[in-house]
């Protein structure tokens, strides 16, 4: 089977992002960029399916600026066979990303599409579900276990309060949660090999997608600062404060 994985270039999770002083956008000019952690889990899951002999080909897709090639190469170093970059300098919102992915799904006809449940920049948690709607495919979101069967996939989902198992007809979409797997590190030989793997470039226009943003960011600001707290001398004082001052325990 053929697996499509989506990967996004995002600010590394260790970087503390701040708004620009004029409040128009976030200041990420010199920030370290990485593959979105949930996307990395998606790549790992696809590679494991290939190692098990379930998958035969893995295509890594990314969208964004030219530099997103780096994240596709990362996915290739982990085991993806080839890449597609949908290049644009414009901001792509989840609906536009889902439309581009839908166009690629129509061309490539993958049996399984694996993607992160959300990216750690926009925190939208929408793209997989939207692709499901546009492509008319079932979705197994927030996956912690994926088992591929004959013409179907069983997905254990992390839901509030526990786990839910759903069975989806193939082709299907899976979005990854943290527990699905622990991604491997790419070995140096694999990083070298990844440089030679094929990478096609296209654009939203070529895919026939109107990618214009529907939601405009008017302002960004830091969250309300917390008031400086106090140090308590001992456990007795702590319990007293929580009971009588903060009134959060009784």
């Amino acid at each position: 089977m053929k697996i499509l994985v989506a990967v996004k270039r995002v600010v590394d999770y260790n970087v503390k992002v701040r708004p620009k002083s004029d409040g128009t956008d976030v200041d990420i000019a010199n920030a370290k960029m990485s593959i979105n952690p949930f996307c990395e889990i998606a790549v790992e899951e696809a590679v494991r399916l290939k190692e098990k002999g379930v998958a035969t080909e893995i295509i890594a897709v990314s969208m964004g600026p030219k530099q997103s090639q780096e994240q596709i190469r990362t996915a290739m170093a982990l085991g993806a066979d080839r890449g597609i970059l949908v290049e644009t300098s414009e901001e792509l919102q989840p609906l536009a990303v889902a439309k581009c992915l839908n166009a690629i799904v129509a061309k490539e006809s993958p049996d399984l599409i694996i993607m992160g449940k959300q990216t750690i920049d926009g925190d939208n948690n929408q793209t997989g579900q939207m692709l499901g709607a546009l492509a008319g495919l079932p979705q197994g979101t927030f996956a912690s276990e994926v088992s591929v069967g004959e013409g179907k996939v069983s997905v254990i989902r992390e839901v509030d309060g526990g786990l839910q198992t759903v069975e989806l007809t193939l082709p299907a979409i899976v979005t990854t949660d943290l527990r699905l797997n622990e991604p491997r590190y790419a070995s140096l030989p694999n990083i070298m090999k990844a440089k030679k793997k094929p990478l096609d470039t296209t654009t939203p226009e070529e895919l026939g997608v109107d990618a214009a943003p529907r939601v405009q960011t008017l302002k960004v600001e830091p969250p309300a600062e917390r008031q400086a707290g106090i140090k308590v001398a001992d456990v007795a004082e702590l319990v007293d404060k929580l009971k009588n001052e903060a009134k959060v325990i009784s």
Binding site: Q126, Q164, V215, Q216, V220, D234
Partner: protein, 309 residues
């Protein structure tokens, strides 16, 4: 304006998350209708009709909606959604599963996790795990929003007398099946829903020591979480992780035990109402966000805390 609220329910009863969404709907202003899509969901519909501020409850009662599979419910929402200016769902795993799918069917860019309503088309939402608050404006005819429950008070469960209307149409996509579920049997509340959370970090030294936290949690009715450092060290499983790549929590009380306060952890808990930090390193960054800091050896302080509760 007319607003459709997607109810969070388990067929028998209405879940509290719905009430916070109703309050967000009130902040937008207009007629508020609640959709209860389920199977034998009369109990949930009845409860929704009593919620203060709700004008009408739409009930779609069919086996296809029993487990609220996104493939089926999103089709239903898309079918009736054009009649509304706003469609609101809670930011629960269910709401997040369904709302974006419905939005795409309506050709709408949904807005996730709103924390305030600035006007009928402008909302605030956290991005970068809450390190940045963005004010965003939608140009879509229908606004599809998911609502972060911790940011809005719960509407009263009594005082409403909504009319109840049954929806006849059944939308069954036939591409997904519910197989089963395993809901946590623990008496402790779920992390993201708990009003008190007590978390341990690398300072706990090993998984066995988390037993101390469980004991305190059981006295407080709290959930137990962990920092990424504790998860990476193998003390506790991944699903306990609070932080940017784990769970985002905002309880009334958050107790951080042996947690230094890395950015990635702070991003997941700094909207808590009251934060307590217990750490022997008085320079630990966690103290900069803590309302009450206790510089102490956790192995003495935590058992003492348990004894005093």
């Amino acid at each position: 304006m007319s607003i459709l609220v997607i109810a969070e329910h388990d067929n028998a009863s209405l879940k509290g998350a719905t009430l916070n969404v109703v309050t967000a709907a009130k902040a937008i202003g207009g007629d508020i209708e609640v959709l209860v899509a389920g199977s034998n969901c009369g109990g949930a519909a009845e409860a929704a009709a009593k919620v203060e501020g709700v004008a009408k409850v739409l009930v779609a009662d069919n086996a296809a909606y029993e487990h609220q599979l996104a493939e089926n419910v999103a089709l239903l929402i898309a079918e009736i959604g054009k009649n509304y200016t706003h469609i609101l769902a809670p930011s629960t795993s269910n709401g997040k599963n369904i709302a974006p799918r419905a939005a795409a069917l309506l050709d709408v860019q949904a807005i996730s996790d709103i924390i305030s309503v600035e006007s009928a088309d402008t909302f605030k939402r956290p991005v970068y795990a809450g390190n940045v608050i963005a004010t965003v404006q939608s140009s879509d005819a229908v606004k599809v929003l998911s609502v972060r429950g911790t940011a809005f008070d719960a509407a009263a469960t009594e005082g409403g007398s909504a009319t109840v209307e049954t929806l006849a149409s059944v939308t069954d996509a036939g591409i997904s099946t519910f197989v089963g579920q395993e809901l946590a049997v623990s008496d402790r509340p779920e992390l993201t829903a708990a009003s008190i959370v007590i978390s341990g970090g690398r300072g706990m030294q090993n998984g066995d020591n988390f037993e101390m936290l469980y004991k305190v949690a059981d006295k407080l009715g709290a959930a137990v979480g962990a920092s990424r450092a504790a998860v990476d060290a193998g003390f506790v499983p991944n699903d306990m992780q609070v932080g940017q790549t784990g769970k985002i929590v905002a309880p009334d009380l958050y107790v951080a035990v042996g947690i230094s306060g890395a950015i990635q952890h702070l991003a997941g808990m700094k909207d808590s109402k009251v934060i307590v930090a217990i750490n022997k390193d008085e320079e630990a960054p966690i103290f900069q966000v803590a309302d009450y800091g206790l510089v102490a050896d956790l192995f003495e302080a935590v058992p003492e805390l348990e004894g005093k509760l």
